[in-house]
Amino acid sequence: MNHALSAPRYWRDRREWSRWLGRKGTVVASTLIHVAPPELAYGAPYPYVLVDFGSEKRSFLGTGHTSFLVGEIVECVWRRMGTPDATGIIPYGIKVQRLSPEEPVAPVESVDTLESEDESHRRSTR
């Protein structure tokens, strides 16, 4: 995790974040991590969730709830990931949160093109 706290890696990871933001998938497995690395200890226990997005699976930290049930629909959102280190960079990244019941549950196709900062920001804050 400490390696995430560097400006070059943030710059490289932008494309990956844009690809995931807003995608919806189904929980395959989840756990609640009680003993965490130092930079994530402030949020422990935190959920860690394996999600099936249809064309691929990927695991993310969960947010909003401590338990994620197999079969639940979740959405990728933009959230703070940990505490800043000596560089002062506040780590942000992708987490998943439960989709509210009134929202559509159909999977969203992958967005492979790099989105603008404004678009990423809009999706993350809705």
Binding site: T31, V35, P37, L50
Partner: protein, 374 residues
Amino acid sequence: MNLWIAGASITDFGELWNRSLFDLLEEASLGAVAQAQIPAEDIEAVFVANMGAGAFEGQLHLGAVVSSFFSHFPPAMRVEGACASGGLALLAAEQAILSGQYKTVLVVGAEKMTDISAEQATAVLSGAACQHSECGSTFPGLYALLAQQHMQQYGTTREHLSAVSAKNHRHALNNPHAQYQKEITVQAVSESAMIAEPLRLLDCSPLSDGAAAVVLSSERVANDNPRITGFGQGNDSLSLAKRSSLTSFVATQRAAQQAYSLSGKQVQDFPVMEVHDCFTIAELLALEDLGVFAPGEAGSATLARETTYGGKVVVNPSGGLKACGHPVGATGVKQVAYLAQLLREGQYERALAHNVGGSGATAVVHILEAGEES
């Protein structure tokens, strides 16, 4: 196949505040050479297994460290494959012997993990996972996902997991080098602190310091030398999300099939095994992937005492990673060194060792047989 285990040595495993990484490497290395009863100058090359001395101790270049224990400075290299580093170093050494490059080599594995905090060590170990796609995971967290899947698909229970840990602690009572020589109950495991649900503290192998070494030779040095008659390595996706199964390790299945084929033996030929129980669920996965039990049946078999003395097969007589301890770089070498000692003592004729890296991306299987009387 002429691969003889001429000597073996295992240090104490545990929180060894009075011993450095250098101390552990030296004790195991020279101990194995001494047991082989060969001149130290006969060691033609050294293979060092280690996962994270750079992060744990700030020490890299371990090949040169171990070479310096010898006045003739044999060529040495470090092999890293997370918790499978030991098994991989053995494979590298075996290939070097079988190629004809060397006749006698030393394989030593070590890790010094307790000089930093448990939280820092957890962060170092998480480097065995995919840092690109498994950000925020921990080693127990990934195995917790596997445990949840196994429970959901096969009905594996909390009691099944706890029975693995209680059994391995009971076995460790016979191992003077074990980190924990203390019996624990199934209930105590089930009530221990939560680490990553459903895995609890006593489902998890500990942070450990320790080292183990073997001397391998293309020639039989003494009548009681065991032989390595089979080996195999399998790999799978580093990321759990890209695996075809979350209730088995394809890497273990591949490694086992290679080893069985090379040795001409089948799983039922082995009365004793050391398998990679970094977490209780890992032992159940190992026993099913090696073919000892059908998928989903290892838990109930463990509870029915089929994996201890008097059962179908004795699994982890050393106490396994759970109770003997898990200095990650040492573990794969320790498994083979421990089984070699049991064969040398005449307790068994054949044995199997199973070593896993990370959450199943790498697996190594070794088959050992007692040397025939000459």
